[in-house]
Amino acid sequence: MSEKKTLTFCLMDAPFENARTTTALRLIDSAVRRGHNVNVFAYEGAVGVPFSKQSAHANSVHGFEKEEWNHPLPKDWVTELMKHAEKSGAKVDWINCGLCVDERGMNEAVPGVRRGSPGDFVSWANASDNTLVIPTK
């Protein structure tokens, strides 16, 4: 592996809206698989990505029960990214913008997600090898 890097991402999109969320998480997955540390600052709708009350559903159109359908839940992807990072000697540190959480009532997040402020993003950016903002449109 090349030298371990620290990458900081700022995400803004809510889950289940567009491919930017999936793409961002795939980029993070790719970094983690290479053993790099990743910081994620979730701003605005992105605080919903690790929201722990996301719930899978069945798909009657396709005739699948809930268990069979295995509907993707971004909160589980975040948990998996964190677990996988641990195994590969890296770390995924995730901060949800606290004000964004409050206005959406999304206080419940999967373990490992912390509450913070834009100041945390600034600190991370200053201490990182690179930063990528993936804004909403």
Partner: protein, 127 residues
């Protein structure tokens, strides 16, 4: 301290609910946290540099909004805090926005100028 060029292009997204442009808002917050920032308004966000904006206050039933967004004033406040604000002249022209209607202190720039801004900052965040 690393310098950051904050390019704001997405405009008037959720500004009624938020009573702010959330990217202008986070720019204020990051400046307050010590970030060294420059702002470039481009695309539809060039309209943020037009002075005298007055978003109507929305109401639903008996509920009446009292703090509608005042984005031009938020841009002025950013400059007061020491953030240089540039606006894409080409995007102003495309939208028929006159330079005389811009808030004082905003600097217009052309495509070459944008390249210089990118080159002269350590980081570029494109919102």
């Amino acid at each position: 301290m690393a310098t950051t060029l904050n390019i704001i292009e997405s405009a008037y997204r959720a500004t009624i609910e938020e009573q702010d442009d959330t990217v202008v808002w986070i720019t204020h917050a990051m400046k307050g946290a010590g970030a060294d920032l420059t702002v470039l308004l481009r695309g539809n966000a060039v309209n943020y540099a037009v002075s005298g904006q007055q978003a109507p206050q929305v109401s639903f039933g008996e509920w009446q909004q009292t703090h509608a967004a005042e984005i031009d004033k938020d841009i002025v406040a950013l400059m007061t805090k020491g953030v240089a604000v540039y606006v894409s002249g080409e995007d102003l022209v495309k939208r028929g926005i006159s330079l005389t209607g811009l808030i004082a202190g905003v600097k217009t720039t052309d495509r070459e100028g944008v390249l210089d801004l990118i080159e002269n900052h350590d980081r570029v965040w494109h919102w």
